[in-house]
């Protein structure tokens, strides 16, 4: 039970910081960053929030069904311009994967060959 209160408390803090202090990040993201810091520094023990956290993450799918269903009344808007949407949705993941994967792999290889050189020298 206390785990739930901690998560809701951090969510409340994040939302408040977004609404009142005008921090230009989503409230939930601010809450996540603050909780990560609290967990990293050991201010809050991992075990305390682990149960509530894994429950929320496991059922994330349920939480966004109403959002996707909310599209139905707007299907007309989407159907007006299907082409750019389809192209963007298919090309996006291709580009992102090649960019992100390529950068990580290249930097990882560079690091490995540098440490190899150091070992040989």
């Amino acid at each position: 039970m206390r785990g739930w209160l901690v998560i809701l408390g951090f969510y409340g803090c994040g939302t408040a910081l977004h609404e009142w202090a005008r921090v230009p990040l989503p409230g939930s993201l601010i809450g996540m960053l603050l909780l990560t810091v609290a967990l990293g520094t050991g201010w809050i023990r991992l075990e305390l929030v682990e149960g509530a956290s894994s429950f929320l993450l496991k059922h994330m799918l349920l939480f966004f069904i109403p959002i996707v269903v909310g599209v139905v009344p707007q299907l007309e808007t989407v159907m007006q311009k299907p082409l750019p949407i389809v192209i963007a949705l298919v090309s996006g993941p291709v580009l992102v994967m090649l960019t992100a994967g390529g950068v990580v792999q290249r930097l990882q290889k560079k690091k490995q060959s540098e440490s190899m050189k150091r070992r040989c020298a």
Binding site: G70, Q74, M97, A100
Partner: protein, 221 residues
């Protein structure tokens, strides 16, 4: 009354979606659930405002679920320390590629203002994507749909694409899939490799953070 019906129907379809997905060519459960709820509500009520009211009690929990991502992130902090440079660069470049390509395509093909503002966050995990879109005047429901579809496209093409491009490193693979197709991609990886799935969930969280930073200037446009 209708609101309570909306909540019950949504939970019921959520429970049915997983077994149905296994019978229906593994169509993503989220699409089955959303289509099922949409169809049943359309047949029996058609009052979308009442559905939205009831549904908001469920979608509220996306916020706390985002906060809950702090737990896997905190668990991986130590591992991240060794590779953070490559990971941060990869996620930052990938997130930028996602937003820039979507924006240019929508401009070139005349996609319209609302659609453009709703599609920019498509690679980010859904709860963050929805909130980011609301913040820049897009349509959160469209963003939710685009995000789910992006994840599905991503995980369907990931293996052959990355193999063809010669990306085989565990970290590189996981980061590529997490940055492009968030939780749906991560769930798809879990069946193959724990290491890749861990890298993917980390990339999903980091791309949420980095994209939120990219969105800061957009709020003022």
């Amino acid at each position: 009354m209708l609101g309570a019906m909306a909540i019950c129907l949504t939970i019921f379809m959520y429970i049915c979606a997983r077994p149905l997905s296994e019978r229906l060519f593994r169509i993503q459960p989220i699409l089955i659930a959303a289509a099922g709820v949409g169809l049943i509500w359309w047949l029996f009520s058609g009052d979308w405002q009442s559905y939205a009211k009831g549904g908001s009690y469920i979608s509220f929990w996306l916020g706390p679920a985002t906060v809950a991502l702090a737990v896997p992130l905190a668990k991986q902090l130590r591992q991240l320390a060794r590779v953070w440079r490559a990971v941060a660069a990869g996620v930052a470049a990938g997130s930028a590629a996602s937003m820039l390509s979507a924006w240019m395509l929508m401009k070139l093909l005349d996609g319209g203002e609302t659609l453009t503002r709703s599609i920019l966050s498509k690679s980010v995990t859904t709860p963050i994507s929805v909130e980011l879109t609301a913040g820049i005047g897009g349509n959160p429901s469209l963003a939710g749909l685009f995000t789910a579809l992006t994840g599905i496209v991503g995980i369907s093409i990931a293996r052959p694409l990355l193999k063809g491009a010669g990306i085989t490193d565990d970290w590189a693979l996981g980061i590529a899939i997490g940055t492009s197709s968030h939780a749906i991609g991560t769930a798809g990886l879990l069946r193959h490799s724990q290491e890749q799935a861990a890298a993917s969930s980390l990339a999903m969280i980091l791309s949420g953070i980095i994209t939120s930073v990219y969105f800061i200037p957009l709020q003022y446009l």
